[in-house]
């Protein structure tokens, strides 16, 4: 197993996305992807993420297996990208959805997120359509019987798609409102009701369903059934038609209707009544992984925009040399780097502090997609009309990713839902912060990218983070460490000033959290603002930690400075011009090809 979780995010250096993908002469978009080089590079034996990235090729090259040209074609036809999915299957991507102990290759969540990001930076529809199988399987990894997990693992590794059915018509985020019902009938269940809109509801041979097993419902009134449609009586279920969507048009967004359908008792995942608990734990993992979809979208948006700006002449200059363009692109990179640090930190935290994941995953899923939405808007402005035309300019890749990304902040728990889940933990966060109760080793293990990751201990996942958040609790200490480094010139003083400023915000925030009245289901708008501020403090603290634990000698801290200024700008009442110049310096450095990206990015920039 290679230890590399690094990806080559590459907005600036075209060389970093390899252009030597497997040859694929068929440009019609409808043909078969030739499999010359598509042998598994992800498998139980090896996880070679660099070879995976290589094999996917350069999307700007129309003959690459995953090209913008091909993606545009299936988007236009609203056709599922089946060929591209098969290529991912051949490369072994599905094995990353299955933990090693169940026959797959998933030993590290940062590897899974890196692979999802690699696919998403080429085609978000494809990433959403393919990676859904991880979401479909995860409840079984957490609560299923060993033989059930083994059989599902074998199916997934063989390329069988799996869906996850939580949502119903009329009930979205409120999982306890679900009406699909399973009642005991002899040896098994009879299931009645509909799930909609569900990703891969039609394609998925298997679907993991949240069903009501007590008529009165409640937190112990729901259970999970892993239903194998291949074994159901055909007259007892039907697929609901594909729903036309604004983005991810090629994806199979449809539904499943069950009509007193018999389901064997062995389909039960975990205990009867344990469904909600398992789903809430599973969502901690899936929300962490979904942030990689946003990172891929950001990689793609920035690369398209920077390449355009570098070519486009305006008023006798190149666009990229206009001061506001340079500033905006620098800021957008700072946004990407911060989002990336949060995502990688969260993926590593699955291993090092699963007991805090209820907080960390909520922060990551609220922060990353919403900041990437902003980044995409910046790119859209810079691209001008090219961001809007459907076929022109890289086959309309930008307007496609713009539409595709909109859904990332909606599904698998919207930004609001994740903030609400943070709000419900404010008391624990405030109490933990006052007493420093969380375990600092977990933070260090997540931030130090060279540290070995322990096997994930899923039984330690918890619905609430009992000790609060170790990362924010340790911010004062991290800021003090940084101050210490400035004494002998190992870090610039302005970095320590920024870290102190962030720490000040974090302390004040926690005083406010302690005073925030509990609000049960109906949290006040002010609480959502506090949650957003918590995300910003968390993001800045994650960047600081990653820098502290991985800073190479002589590293000037430019990326950290840019990340801190980026989060502080949203925490401060007003912007100050002096700070913003860091974005110019960041972009200038990136243009020279200097290694200024955070170590979470890896070799690309």
């Amino acid at each position: 197993m290679t230890s590399s979780a690094r990806t080559s995010a590459s907005a600036l250096s075209p060389a970093s996305v390899p252009s030597t993908g497997p040859a694929r002469p068929d440009a019609s978009g409808a043909g078969v992807v030739t499999a010359t080089a598509s042998k598994p590079v992800l498998s139980g034996g090896t996880v070679d993420l660099e070879a995976f990235e290589q094999a996917l090729g350069d999307p700007f090259d129309p003959s690459a297996p995953l090209s913008f040209a091909r993606s545009a074609e299936s988007d236009r036809r609203e056709q599922f990208p089946a060929d591209m999915c098969r290529l991912l299957d051949r490369l072994g991507m599905p094995s990353l959805y299955v933990p090693v102990e169940h026959g797959g290759a998933l030993a590290r969540y940062d590897e899974l997120t890196a692979a999802v990001r690699s696919v998403a930076r080429r085609d978000l529809t494809l990433a959403v359509g393919h990676a859904k199988t991880f979401l479909g399987g995860v409840c079984v990894w957490l609560a299923g019987r060993p033989e059930q997990a083994r059989a599902l693992g074998a199916d997934i590794v063989a390329g069988v798609p799996v869906a996850w059915g939580l949502t119903e018509h009329g009930h979205g985020s409120d999982l306890l409102a679900g009406t699909m019902q399973a009642r005991r009938d002899g040896d098994g269940y009879r299931v009645r009701g509909e799930k909609w809109p569900i990703n891969n509801a039609t394609r998925g041979d298997l679907i993991c369903l949240l069903v009501r097993t007590r008529p009165e419902g409640g937190p112990r009134g729901f259970s999970l059934l892993l239903v194998d449609k291949r074994r159901l009586p055909h007259d007892r279920y039907r697929h609901l038609p594909k729903v036309p969507t604004h983005g991810i048009r090629g994806a199979d967004i449809s539904g499943l209707a069950m009509d007193d359908c018999p389901v064997p008792a062995g389909a039960l995942v975990g205990t009867e009544g344990g469904g909600l608990e398992t789903v809430l734990k599973a969502l901690q993992l899936t929300r962490t992984v979904c942030t990689a979809l946003s990172l891929g979208a950001a990689d793609q948006a920035l690369r398209i925009t920077v390449e355009h700006a570098a070519r486009r002449g305006l008023y006798g200059r190149t666009m990229v040399d206009l001061p506001h363009v340079r500033r905006a692109l620098g800021r957008a990179h700072a946004a990407l780097f911060t989002a990336e640090v949060v995502s990688v930190f969260a993926a590593r935290a699955v291993h090092t502090m699963p007991e805090e994941l209820s907080v960390i995953s909520a922060v990551a899923k609220a922060y990353v997609p919403s900041r990437v939405d902003e980044l995409i808007m910046t790119c859209e402005e810079l691209l001008g009309v090219r961001g809007f035309l459907a076929d022109y300019h890289e086959h309309g890749a930008f307007q496609k990713l713009h539409r595709d990304h909109r859904v990332v902040g909606v599904f698998d728990g919207s930004t609001f839902v994740n903030r609400h889940s943070l709000i419900s933990q404010f008391t624990l966060l405030a109490r933990g912060h006052a007493r420093i109760t969380a375990n600092p080793a977990g933070v260090e293990g997540a931030a130090d990218l060279t540290a070995a990751l322990p096997t994930p201990r899923m039984h330690r996942l918890s619905l609430t983070a009992r000790g609060g958040c170790g990362l924010t609790q340790g911010l004062a200490g991290a800021a003090a460490d940084l101050r210490g480094l400035t004494a002998d010139g190992r870090a610039p003083a302005r970095l320590a000033d920024l870290a102190d400023e962030l720490n000040g915000h974090c302390e004040r925030l926690h005083e406010e959290l302690a005073l925030c009245p509990p609000s049960s289901q109906f949290a006040p708008p002010e609480a959502f603002t506090l949650a957003r501020r918590f995300e910003l403090c968390f993001a800045g603290a994650a960047a600081l930690r990653v820098w502290l634990h991985n800073a190479a000698a002589g590293h000037d801290g430019l990326w950290l400075e840019a990340c801190l200024v980026h989060v502080l700008q949203s925490l401060r009442p007003a912007r100050t011009a002096a700070d913003e110049a860091v974005f110019d310096r960041l972009f200038d450095a990136l243009r020279t090809g200097a290694p200024v990206a955070p170590p979470t990015t890896g070799g690309g920039l």
Binding site: L176, G218, P219, R220, L276, E277, H420, S421, S424, Q425, T427, L428, R431, S462, L463, T464, R466, P517, P518, S519, S520, Q521, F522
Partner: protein, 95 residues
């Protein structure tokens, strides 16, 4: 154990829980029926988890966060927690 040793069986536990639930529901304690399901006060499944943190903090116990799901009324929750306290105070646990 913090501050509760004087109450061997926590006679005040039910009372205190009622105050906590009233606090979350933003109502008067007198309005809270100890035999009613917590959800009838708008205490959704996620907030029931916070209640667990409060109990842990007061009594120095470690509980499953879902304790209020499995014991969804104040009476049931108090009885369950009292049972745990009794177990925790058995002499063999001291050594």
């Amino acid at each position: 154990m913090n501050g509760s040793e004087s109450d061997p069986l926590e006679p005040g536990l039910g009372h205190w829980l009622r105050e906590r639930v009233a606090h979350y529901a933003q109502r008067e304690p007198a309005e809270i029926d100890p035999s009613a399901n917590l959800t009838s006060y708008g205490l959704d499944s996620v907030y029931a988890l916070s209640l667990c943190g409060d109990i842990e903090d007061r009594l120095g116990l470690v509980l499953e966060p879902t304790v209020a799901w499995d014991h969804p009324t104040i009476e049931a929750l108090a009885a369950h927690v009292e049972g745990m306290l009794t177990d925790a105070r058995r002499p063999q646990d001291a050594g």
